[in-house]
């Protein structure tokens, strides 16, 4: 850590101790933060930095192995997962390409959960959740530890697909574990294809909800946070998908919204009962639904069907639109094209933003679906989902840059900030601290003179 960074974190520490005891707005409990919104609570988040030169870099921590899971934050801790292959030559293949092949690394692995000090990046504890040879293959751009962890501050959940579901105390004690079977998510066109699981667990009340879409016998299930006991399980007429389910609080009920190649679906979060379905959708569905403006936005981008749907919260039944229609009582608006493949959309302010893998950022009026602009970002390839804070969007590229774009109806690039290594994981916020996971390190970034 550089001199400025060290000075900064001391100062940051004082401010944060007070902040944590007062509120939990700084927490980032799951993939894309609270309700998967991607929106951080900071008011003076970093705008410019250069992690390669230590500029506005608070700390940098080595993270061994290969993983594209996102870090999460609770209180003074950052939790992160990884899978460490004994074949040290293993790497992620970045860039824009189409490949249906898998990486078949049969060397022994360790699946780890790590807790770091949010203020210093110091490793507080690490646990090997599982060791052995991977039970399934992975996509060249994915990892054996792609689902992000989740926490409610009392339990830390780590999900490793075929290698199981694990619950730890915040101090690293294993509370329980469950084998959910082989999660052979893969190419729909070949039932033997394996790309690996990526859907992250989400915590709702006293349960953790896990979406297990795979080549056969897909399901969604909820497990008791206390002991891992299965609370409900609902079979899904789905093949493999990779998006994380989103819990959406409605007026009369809470629903779990899932992306899906056969249909987008809503479930009762308390019982798992299917509430509604909506199609058509892409054969490969990877993005996570996001709620905002009293709507649920779901998109997928595998051609030829690449829709964007804005669904009214609380709808029931078969919501599929009549031929030629783009809206209905349940669907505020939709578009048959424009859906994106890997980065999940984000609602920030009055706008819905989508980011294509090729760096095309599109802004829509979230309420009406009117397209406000479409702009190509300089980076070559994007997998990480956009996050936002302080009036800006943050777009992390595989090239190792984070682009800061002013939120609003007009496009304005504010900054391009080097991280120095490929970024495929969605960054996390802890108030004004941005935590970026690169290929080898975790970076904590903050503007000197920030609000803390």
């Amino acid at each position: 850590m550089n001199r400025h960074g060290r000075a900064f974190w001391r100062w940051l520490a004082l401010g944060t101790m007070a902040a944590v005891s007062l509120a939990t707005a700084a927490d980032w409990p799951q993939f894309r933060g609270p309700s998967a919104s991607g929106v951080g609570s900071g008011t003076k988040p970093p705008i410019r930095w250069d992690a390669t030169k230590g500029i506005n870099l608070v700390w940098k921590a080595d993270i061994p192995g290969l993983s594209i899971s996102s870090p999460i934050v609770w209180g003074d801790r950052v939790y992160v997962t990884t899978a460490i292959s004994s074949d040290t030559a293993q790497k992620l293949r970045t860039g824009l390409y189409g490949d249906t092949d898998s990486v078949d690394d049969r060397s022994p692995h360790q699946w780890k959960v790590m807790a770091l000090d949010k203020l210093t990046g110091k490793l507080l504890w690490q646990q090997i959740a599982h060791a052995g040879v991977p039970k399934t293959k992975r996509h060249p751009k994915s990892s054996q530890a792609s689902p992000s962890p989740a926490t409610n501050g009392s339990v830390v959940i780590a999900y490793f697909g075929s290698e199981g579901l694990y619950a730890y105390s915040p101090d690293g004690k294993l509370l329980w574990q469950k084998d959910l079977g082989i999660q052979n998510a893969g190419w729909f066109f070949d039932p033997d294809s394996e790309w690996g699981a990526a859907s992250s667990p989400v915590i709702y009340k006293n349960s953790v909800i896990v979406l297990c879409d795979r080549q056969k016998d897909s399901f969604i299930a909820a497990f008791d946070l206390k002991d891992g006991k299965e609370l409900w399980r609902t079979a899904r007429a789905e093949v493999s998908t990779w998006g994380t389910p989103t819990v959406v609080e409605g007026k009369d009920r809470t629903e779990v919204v899932t992306n899906g190649s056969k249909a987008i679906r809503g479930y009762d979060a308390d019982t798992g009962k299917e509430l509604w379905t909506l199609g058509p959708n892409s054969e490969i569905a990877c993005t996570t639904p996001v709620a905002g403006q009293s709507l649920i936005f779901v998109t997928a981008g595998y051609p030829p069907v690449q829709p964007i749907y804005a669904i009214r919260i609380g709808s029931t039944g078969n919501l599929t639109l009549q031929a030629g229609k783009e809206s209905s009582d349940a669907i505020a608006w939709s578009k048959p094209r424009g859906g994106v493949y890997l980065p999940s959309p984000i609602v920030y302010g009055d706008q819905l933003y989508t980011l294509g893998n090729n760096g095309i950022l599109t802004a829509y009026d979230a309420k009406t679906g009117n397209r406000l602009y479409q702009q190509r970002i300089e980076g070559d390839s994007f997998v990480a989902s956009p996050v936002a804070a302080g009036g800006n969007l943050y777009l992390a590229s595989e090239d190792g840059d984070v682009f800061v774009v002013k939120a609003g109806p007009q496009y304005e690039l504010v900054a391009k900030n080097p991280v120095g290594e490929p970024v495929l994981a969605t960054p996390a916020w802890a108030d004004d601290l941005l935590i970026v996971r690169g290929a080898k390190h975790l970076f904590a970034i903050a503007e000197r003179g920030g609000s803390k």
Binding site: R93, Y97, F189, D192, G356, N358, D380
Partner: protein
């Protein structure tokens, strides 16, 4: 038999046929020859299809199940089937996955126009495969000539010799484009239609293209603005030094320069 009895009987026949067809698709995919033989014996349909239009032969072929492929071809399965999602032939996937033993069997049985597959078969560099294709049917002269030129460019001497023997003409000398013009084309280009960046650069008097994550390839100039990459049957035409149109397989894609080198 009363009406209800007949309905139950008919329904059970229907379910039975569905089951054996599903089982045949599964057995073909995993390469279980004895199961495939038994299921065909039970009346499973040779051309039954998955939801994506894949037949038992398609699934066996794309997974490299040589014994099953041989058996199904002997039974008369159609090797020219295209799936309903990608509209690709089984040979496309077989070549992509390098199941050359299967490819040879399919090539010998195919009846479709050899022009469509000549370039992709030659691109494997496998002379046996190319030989099998040329034995199965003569491609058109333009297809032979283009593929021959590509094989020369890739230094695939055995393949080139086979194509030459089949009647391919020597390629015309390349048009010479001055270095300044080539350098003006250099940059990174993006398309709104496909999520692929293409880097264009000049090196040792030649213009090269490289799509993200793919190997570079040299373009042959046909004029100061028109270029081709015969091996992949790619044609490129620059409208200016900041945009070009790429044509391949009947489709065309506009690219605009995003970054100047």
């Amino acid at each position: 038999m009363n009406r209800i009895g007949i309905l139950i009987f008919v329904a059970s026949l229907g379910f039975g046929a569905g089951d054996v067809n599903e089982d045949l698709l599964e057995a073909s995919r995993v390469g279980d020859l004895s199961a495939v033989q038994a299921l065909i014996g039970k009346g499973a349909a040779l051309e039954t299809k998955t939801a994506y239009g894949q037949t038992p032969l398609y699934l066996a072929a794309m997974n490299g199940r040589e014994e099953v492929v041989r058996f199904l071809l002997d039974k008369g399965a159609n090797p020219d089937v295209r799936d309903s999602f990608y509209h690709a032939s089984m040979l496309d996937f077989v070549l992509m996955r390098k199941h050359y033993g299967v490819a040879k069997m399919l090539i010998r049985k195919r009846t479709a126009n050899p022009d469509r597959i000549l370039a992709s078969v030659a691109a494997t560099g496998d002379a046996d495969l190319v030989g099998a294709l040329l034995e199965a049917g003569k491609p058109s002269q333009p297809a032979l000539d283009k593929t021959y030129e590509a094989a020369l460019g890739e230094k695939q001497t055995e393949v080139a010799a086979l194509l030459k023997k089949a009647g391919a003409h020597e390629p015309a000398p390349a048009f010479v484009v001055d270095a300044k013009t080539l350098e003006a084309y250099a940059g990174t280009y993006k398309s709104d239609k496909i999520p692929l960046d293409i880097k264009v650069f000049s090196k040792e008097g030649k213009l090269y293209m490289q799509a993200t994550g793919q190997p570079e390839f040299a373009l042959k100039p046909k004029s100061a603005t028109q270029f081709e990459f015969a091996q992949a049957q790619v044609e490129v035409e620059f409208d200016s030094s900041a945009s070009f149109t790429l044509k391949q397989g009947g489709a065309s894609y506009g690219f605009k320069k995003a970054v100047t080198q």
